[in-house]
Each structure stands twice: as structure tokens, then as C-alpha cells.
Subunit: 232 residues, 2 copies
Amino acid sequence: MIHRSTVHEVLIAVFQVRAFSDPDSPELAVLLWQRALDPEAGTWSLPGGTLRDDENLATSARRQLAEKVDVRSVAHLEQLSIFSEPDRVPGDRRIASTFLGLVPISTEPTLPGDTTWHPVSALPPMSFDHGTVVAHARHRLVAKLSYTNIGFALAPVEFSISSLREIYGAALGYQVDATNLQRVLSRRGVIEPTGRRAPSGKAGGRPPALFRFADNSIRVTDEFAALRPPQA
Amino acid sequence: MIHRSTVHEVLIAVFQVRAFSDPDSPELAVLLWQRALDPEAGTWSLPGGTLRDDENLATSARRQLAEKVDVRSVAHLEQLSIFSEPDRVPGDRRIASTFLGLVPISTEPTLPGDTTWHPVSALPPMSFDHGTVVAHARHRLVAKLSYTNIGFALAPVEFSISSLREIYGAALGYQVDATNLQRVLSRRGVIEPTGRRAPSGKAGGRPPALFRFADNSIRVTDEFAALRPPQA
DNA sequence: TCAAAAGTGTTATGAGTACACCCATGA
DNA sequence: TCATGGGTGTACTCATAACACTTTTGA
């Protein structure tokens, strides 16, 4: 058989909730850069690159991201699965370890010219299997919003419940009730009141209380959906 | 820096529920082989080996397993995380992709002389970071027993509820109520009655009805613990 | 005083747990 | 007829969803 060399690469799906057309209904967006050169020139790719000898995967992911976005703005990063089909890209074999990264709303990191945010509901033509990676990452995010405090990595430091509702709605892909969101997250100790209030909006209305996330790293908050250990 | 070559390896934590001391309370066991040579001669390792150029990770995992156990007995195989620390093993760098494998109870595949089942509650001295892999795999199994039908890969084709209760108890690490186990799995459509009955045991007693799993591949049965989409 | 937005209260539902009680069988 | 399990019925708890109602503000 033809001798092929194998390299290990890292690919990161970085998500942020952003306003596109309507500022009142923001959408989940993913960071992509457009390939200038073949193969697949013109298609859009996830940030990433080759693993170095002296770094582990998480370190590499942060280093690769630094080329596209201010890494300090990435509030959460976690491993997804590996894409290992021998022919997933042309040329040398590339085994891809994929990651999910999250950037809080309304941070605006400066981006290179080839790089922009795209709503996940309308992705441009994607390079290789990168569209599949985005789908996996979105699925993981939706699942973890239900049973962890991962929302901390999408929300600002302080927020009203209704703005948090917009963030969850955008990330999940369906509307959630603000009342119940507050109750669920409060009971689990995921969010807590700051005691401060925001000014009321342009059209008047009662000024909202401000909340914050209790932790700024991921924590499982509802481990057993069923088959819990006995209480006694 | 010193030139190092990097290889990609696969490691599989294969679990089975087995009777050790007491046949009435089986335990979760993991398949290990003992290293005859250095490094770390005498310690116990997970089955696995180097990824080939022409295979993906899942294919490689099945091929590696074939050297230790009859692969047809492995009812479920899924990817866990990657261990990528540059110095996780001495010598050339080895990036390890880890897997969880499950073998149904009371199948007895023939094993090589260096290979045996060990209860996960009392692991022998483990090679490198293989103990951590076993812990991750166990954690994944426990989680998936709650929200998927993954029990199909641990149970025999037909079973009574009380024997299924023993299997779940061993895998989870805590006792479950047979009544509620039946109700939860039946409501979710995970198990179904076969219409047949088993003979009653040595000490008499009512003969149990036999059940089977409705599917023999993994399926998520309880996706949303909270924040479900609205019904309308 | 009215509209708008936030926040509270209330009810309904459904999943899961715990446990008492009844059933079927062999000795 | 009794011991030994298996199986059923039922009450309780609790998290969540749905939605009406009240409160607080600006115009």
C-alpha cells in the first residue's frame, strides 16, 4: 500500500449566542473561517490544527483557538468524539479530535478577516466533515443545558431572567418559560440573585432583578434521571 | 528537542456481570491481561493496541479485542475520551482512544492464559493510566443505565425481572427495587414480556415470567430530564 | 391611568419510590 | 399447608409545566 503519514489534529466548534436579524431573538452561532486554498477552497472550516509533540489535546485546542479568537473569551471547552475514518480528508491521514467551546453573549473578540460567526440554523457550505462536528457539538450543548450548569459559559456575568431565557431559547432551539427556568435553576443552586436590579427598558416596565451563575466551571446538577440510589 | 514518534493506540474496558464469591450477588468485572515484560511487568492492562493505517477506531477496537476474547460476544462498544498527555507512558508518545465494551452475563468466551476477569471493586495493580480508564468507563455505564436501554448488552436474551435486578444492581453498584425496575423499563418500552415462564428455583416459589429487551442496539429512552420542549 | 415587562401563586401532570399485600408453586 | 419467591396495587413525594394574576415601572 502507499505509505501515508498520519497526523493528529484538533477541531473546535465555538458557539456563542448572538443577535443577527432581530435583536430580540438572538441565535446560536458558530465560529468559521473560509478556506482560501484547495482542497475545498471557498468552503468554511472550524478553527483547529495539528497537535504538537509537547502538548495534550486541551492545550492544543486553546493554542489553535488563539489564532482565531481571544482565548480568554472561551469560558468552557470540552472534548467531543474522534473522527478517525482513514479517508475523511484527502492527502495524509488526519485523525481529528473534536471539541466544544463556548463564548459568553455580548463579548466581541476581534477576528481575522477570513473568520466570522454563522448562525447554526443556516450554515454555509462546510469543509470535509466539519458540518457533522457542528451537529455533534450542538447536540452535546443541548443535552448539557438540561442536566448541568453549562449555561454559565453562554451568559454574561449578571443578567435578568428574561435575557437568560433568550439565551437558553437560542441555544436549545425552542422557547422556554422564564418562570420555570428561574425556578429550575434556582432550586438546583445553578443561579443566585445578586441583589441588584437593571434599569427598565425603553418601553418602560418593571425593572428586572439581576442574577448570576453560582459557579464558573461545569458541574452536573441532575445526575440521576431515574434509578436513583435508595434514600435510606 | 528529542525526536519522538507518536502512535495512536486503542484501549478497551470490557465489562461483564459475573459471579465471584457468592452466586446470588454477581459483580461487575473487567477484562485484564498481565504484562510479562517491562515496562511495568506484572501490572494489569486493558486489551488494546496500535491503530493501523487502514482502519478507523471502532474497527481497530474490534480487531484488538479479537486477540483476547471472542468478539462476537461483545454486544456493545462505544468511544470514551482520549488520553493525550505527552508522557502518559514511557518511550514513544502514545495517544490512547478509550472504549467501553459490554459482554452479556453467562457468556464464557475462552481467554488467553494471561487474561482474566477482575471485579471492578478490587482491581489489581494497573498499568500506566489504565485504572483511570476503568473508572471513566464505569461512570459512563452507570449514567447510561439511567437514560438508555444499554442493559441489553449486559443481560441474557431472556431473563426474569429478579435476575435483571441482580444485573442492574451489580452494574450500578447499588440495589434496585425489582418492582420499580420492571415498571420503569416497561413504560419506556425497553423490555417486553416474552409470554414464557422459567421453572421455579430449587427452594420452590412461583415461576417467574420471562422478558427480553426490545432492541439490541443502544437507544436513548429519556432524553430530557428537564427543560423539555413544549407539548403543543 | 395605561401599557409593558417582571415576578408570584396555583394547579395539573407525570415519573419514580416505597412498601404492603396477593398469587403460584414445590415440598 | 407452609415456606419461598414472583407479581400487583396503591399511596406518597417531588420536579416540572402551564398559565392566570399581581406588582412595578415609564410615559
